[in-house]
């Protein structure tokens, strides 16, 4: 179809080489297609080369976020503190969720902070492509940098909220940090791997499905209730509601619940007396599985449509 046109163009362009199709001409001079998806290993290497961009972008976003407020960066600490206060007031005091749970504030806050990390990453990831279209249409870089930068940004926030969380947990349980706390970075690493993967998946979905941003709050809220953030899954599902044990097991297997459970085992010694500070095998296996699976699938899934992100 392009045959006659290329001939015309060739003539226009200086009458060179007669009837040669442009695609052949391009090949002869070693020209490549302007938009082409690099092979997966190459893509990962390019991404690694942009690590400074990803880090700077994340930090810059965090800095500019509170630029206009009078208290400035203090909000990084104040936001999790205020959140903690509201959750405790709501679920601890008013709804009285703490009846069967020892150290309920520590239980609730651990769940809430861990869940918030995943929730915020997913919500931010969904917008990472669609709200940066001008950047995407202006500069060349592996697009996965954007959802990655959003995850890093949330990770930086998490570092601060974790500090707040540790202080509050110690104040509640009166237990000093022990050797098991060394596992905390491992859990957070696994959760971050999962978040990166989940962020990449929703980033691709959000780039084409405009309605995802409206829908996500409902999805994450359902997820919040299914993850046992302010109640014990075992307690409510099996003991109170009388549902079979497998329902509870399935709920424990959802990634958010797994990370929350493991973190609670570490921070609260009374959380699960049967296992002490160790997580049940099901929990840690679920944590590792979700981390590896989400990370691999997320990168692959996002990379598959790399060349289409600019279209809007």
């Amino acid at each position: 179809m392009s045959q006659p046109e290329s001939a015309v163009a060739d003539a226009q362009a200086g009458g060179r080489s007669g009837q040669e199709p442009l695609a052949k001409l391009a090949k002869r001079y070693g020209l490549r297609r302007a938009i082409a998806r690099p092979r997966f290993p190459v893509y990962l290497r390019q991404l690694w080369e942009r690590r400074h961009f990803i880090l700077t972008y994340a930090t810059s976003r965090n800095v500019s976020k509170y630029n206009r407020s009078a208290l400035g960066q203090l909000w990084q600490v104040l936001t999790p503190l205020l959140n903690a206060a509201i959750y405790f007031l709501m679920f601890g005091l008013i709804l009285g969720g703490h009846k069967n749970i020892e150290h309920y504030p520590a239980f609730l806050l651990t769940g809430m902070f861990i869940f918030t990390y995943t929730q915020r990453t997913v919500t931010a990831g969904a917008k990472s492509i669609s709200s940066n279209l001008s950047l995407i249409r202006a500069l060349h870089f592996p697009r996965a940098s954007l959802p990655l930068a959003y995850t890093i940004q949330e990770l930086q926030q998490l570092a601060i909220s974790m500090g707040v969380l540790f202080v509050l947990v110690i104040a509640d349980t009166r237990e000093w940090p022990n050797w098991y706390w060394l596992m905390i970075p491992v859990v957070l690493l696994l959760q971050t791997m999962f978040n990166i993967g989940a962020g990449l998946v929703v980033a691709r979905l959000g780039a084409t499905m405009r309605d995802l941003n409206q829908l996500l709050p409902f999805i994450t809220r359902t997820w919040l209730y299914a993850s046992g953030v302010f109640f014990s899954i075992q307690d409510k599902v099996v003991d109170s509601a009388g549902l079979p044990q497998w329902v509870a097991n399935v709920m424990y297997l959802n990634p958010a619940a797994s990370y929350i459970e493991w973190m609670r085992e570490i921070l609260i010694s009374t959380h699960n007396k049967q296992f002490g500070h160790h997580p049940p095998p099901m929990v840690w296996m679920s944590c590792v599985f979700w981390a590896v699976f989400a990370l691999c699938f997320g990168f692959w899934y996002f990379w598959r449509s790399e060349e289409r992100y600019g279209r809007g």
């Binding site: 163009a9 200086g14 060179r16 302007a34 942009r50 700077t56 206009r68 870089f141």
Partner: protein
């Protein structure tokens, strides 16, 4: 966005009802490639004359192509562009979904309709045309930032686009934007440290570099963006209206830099509404009209024709 809406209103008129037919029959020019909208031979339409090698603009080195655009079609998706008949209320949205009329308020804009040309080492090509004629879209496609709907763009190395939209983060200081922009182009921290002062000096924004970019005048922003993007050596540089807002002194400086890029055997594309800039810097001009090439050749001839019609 405003530009897109404008493009939309232009394209709407001749867009076939069935999306699939879009490409097969773009307007009336079917069969005669690169013809303008009007019927052939009427209203003084200028057909590009096939040039002989001897007639190539003077300062062009021998022909190694750097950019080949082969029958390129670009179709944009635009959201939220509701026409008058479908007011944005919930009932209409529901009927639309029930009738399976595709995505709510999504329009496809056929911005570039079959453009073909070859650019060579050392070329500085000016692109002229009215608002919404597809100039910026064409540049983005050459830069590999917009996927082609049909056809292909072949380039030598990675072209870089330098445009008014290249704003990084308006809330951040110029300093941070320089660092961020350099990283985004793939520089290492050492390179950024090395280039930083150059960029500040070239942009001429001096102490404003410590202020957020949202406080910059449009001219200062454009200068900084040009300074950032041109800090890296490019094989193919695409400049989209970036020089329009700069003052006289800056325009001279940037023209000097474009000349340097051309001398290092690169290719420069320049979109500008200020025809003087194009006449001063370019050795070849492409006139785009409604997404098609209307004329392609020597700046004097094309610009004279463009000024007439």
């Amino acid at each position: 966005m405003a530009e897109l809406t404008k493009e939309l209103s232009q394209v709407k008129g001749d867009k076939p009802a069935v999306p699939g037919e879009d490409v097969a029959a773009p307007g009336k020019g079917n069969g005669t490639p690169n013809t303008g909208k009007s019927a052939p031979g009427t209203d003084g339409q200028v057909r590009p004359q096939p040039e002989t090698p001897g007639k190539r603009p003077l300062d062009v080195p021998t022909g190694t192509p750097t950019v080949i655009v082969d029958d390129l079609h670009i179709v944009y998706r635009v959201y939220g562009a509701a026409s008058e008949s479908e007011k944005g209320n919930a009932v209409n949205a529901l009927t639309r979904i029930l009738k399976r009329q595709g995505r709510p308020q999504m329009k496809e804009v056929h911005a570039v309709k079959g453009v073909t040309f070859v650019a060579y080492h050392g070329d500085a090509i000016g692109i002229v045309g009215r608002n919404g004629s597809g100039k910026s879209t064409l540049l983005r496609a050459i830069a590999g930032l917009l996927p082609p709907h049909e056809g292909a763009v072949y380039t030598d190395g990675q072209p870089s686009l330098l445009g008014v939209n290249a704003a990084l983060m308006r809330e951040l200081t110029g300093e941070r934007n320089i660092v961020l922009g350099c990283y985004a182009m793939g520089m290492t921290p050492a390179e950024v440290r090395e280039k930083y002062q150059d960029i500040v000096d070239f942009s001429g924004i001096d102490e404003f570099v410590q202020l957020p970019m949202s406080t910059y005048s449009s001219g200062m922003g454009a200068r900084l963006r040009f300074a950032i993007s041109s800090a890296k050596t490019h094989d193919v540089l695409l400049i989209d209206e970036a020089l329009a807002t700069g003052d006289r002194e800056f325009r001279k400086k940037s023209q000097e830099r474009i000349r340097q890029i051309r001398e290092s055997a690169g290719t420069v594309f320049l979109v500008a509404h200020d025809l003087r800039v194009i006449e001063e810097t370019c050795n070849r001009v492409i006139w785009l009209h409604k997404g098609k090439i209307k004329m392609d050749g020597d700046p004097k001839e094309v610009l004279a024709a463009y000024n007439k019609g």
